[in-house]
Amino acid sequence: AQSVAQPEDQVNVAEGNPLTVKCTYSVSGNPYLFWYVQYPNRGLQFLLKYITGDNLVKGSYGFEAEFNKSQTSFHLKKPSALVSDSALYFCAVRDIYNNNDMRFGAGTRLTVKP
């Protein structure tokens, strides 16, 4: 089955510094990868997705993600972190061999300190 892993439970960065939230994937065939963000007591909000094409995908709120096929990674990045970016981030992959189910990682909690 397709799957993603988020190796870090927690990421801490200082405001204004670049941030990276890591995601690695395991798929058969072409990967369809997604990033979502969850703020406290809210549902998940879509940030960006990779289907095909450019390896650098730009999304909402200044976020971008880099698809790296050789390293099977899809890391989320932002050049300059804001305190308001503090949230729970989920990587997900579409399991095209199992009814297109969405498989989520366990999540990474990002804390941006002033």
Partner: protein, 114 residues
């Protein structure tokens, strides 16, 4: 939250009682999904629907049933709630099938089974 409402938003119930959660959408999307969110597991798919009266099981369907009698409503029922079903439940919708479509999430229902 993309024209999706969930009710109730919070519920406390006792073991053995039936519980029904409702998801309502105003987007006229064909596909609807129920997930549960638990720490360390990310989101896991319970059931999904690909049209009125058309539903299928997801990864963690045991103990749950669903119904969809109208495009806009998708109900999740716990026939006899257990403590292991204490979780946060999210509904999601999407317009297309296939690996590339994006799912949009509702605000969630926090269920506690005592």
């Amino acid at each position: 939250d993309a024209g999706i409402t969930q009710s109730p938003r919070h519920k406390v119930t006792e073991t053995g009682t039936p519980v029904t959660l409702r998801c309502h959408q105003t987007e006229n999307h064909r596909y609807m999904y129920w997930y549960r969110q638990d720490p360390g597991h990310g989101l896991r798919l319970i059931h999904y629907s690909y049209g009125v009266k058309d539903t299928d099981k997801g990864e963690v369907s045991d103990g749950y049933s669903v119904s969809r009698s109208k495009t806009e409503d998708f109900l999740l029922t716990l026939e006899s709630a257990t403590s292991s079903q204490t979780s946060v439940y999210f509904c999601a919708i999407s317009d297309l099938s296939g690996g590339t479509d994006t799912q949009y999430f509702g605000p969630g229902t926090r269920l506690t089974v005592l």
